[in-house]
Subunit: 124 residues, 2 copies
DNA sequence: TAAAGTGTCTTATTATAGTAGTACAGTTTT
DNA sequence: AAAACTGTACTACTATAATAAGACACTTTA
């Protein structure tokens, strides 16, 4: 089932760690469309957190369209594979555009960037 | 001289806005090696900030090697063009590696990424 | 050498994010 | 219909980041 590695001492807040862990599982298709998530209280007990903290995670994931919840029946993963691919693509496009912005603002040209990318992509 | 556009209502803290403005000027070579910065108190008066806030900016910029300060004589920009180019390169390399990490973690392959980049770079 | 400038340090205030406690409201299941 | 689950809303506590006030120490300069 879900595997968490929560570090309470980390400066990055617990609820973000939990959220990222779930998001990653959805992205990697370890959590599939329709899968049932543990209830807020159950997950809270497992992670030794306050239910509200878990609720915050679920609420946030619901806002972003990853999951869907109803009273009584809990939360379910909600992502058809096609939509997920589109989502991933738009995420990564957005990231790349931000990167380009920054590179241009630092004075790099298209050619500089292409050269850099070729170098780093072949050295991987 | 220095041009600031500080938004006190913004969620991004004022001292970061100031820091970024100065960093940008250095990167763009509008602030050159040896240029004198306004004194902490002077800049604080201009921006209607507490001197400590400006001091925090200068301290942070000094930590990162962009400027250098001495009692009595204030802060000066400290960046030979060569070093600056190296710095920019390492910044942008770091950014790109982070981008790659994320793309891979989302399941994209090298080829996917190359295709994406080619598309976004020619459409600019 | 004194005055006016510089940066630095210590401390305090304020706002906000993160987390928790507890009571509430709707569903499911028996 | 009652019991045992589900999520939700309200309130409060706590830690931390951001900013500010004011005293201190060193340099410059007239």
């Amino acid at each position: 089932m879900l595997k968490f590695n929560i570090d309470a001492a980390s400066p990055v807040p617990v609820y973000q760690q939990v959220k990222q862990a779930i998001t990653l599982d959805i992205m990697a298709n370890r959590l599939k469309d329709g899968d049932q998530l543990p209830s807020i209280r159950t997950l809270a007990r497992i992670l030794k957190l306050n239910p509200n903290t878990v609720a915050k995670v679920y609420y946030s994931l619901e806002q972003e369209g990853y999951i869907e919840g109803r009273r009584g029946s809990g939360y379910q993963v909600k992502c058809q594979k096609g939509k997920m691919d589109n989502l991933k693509l738009s995420i990564i496009e957005h990231e790349f555009k931000a990167f380009l912005e920054k590179a241009f603002s630092l004075g790099f040209t298209k050619e500089d960037i292409e050269k850099l990318m070729r170098r780093l992509l072949t050295n991987e």
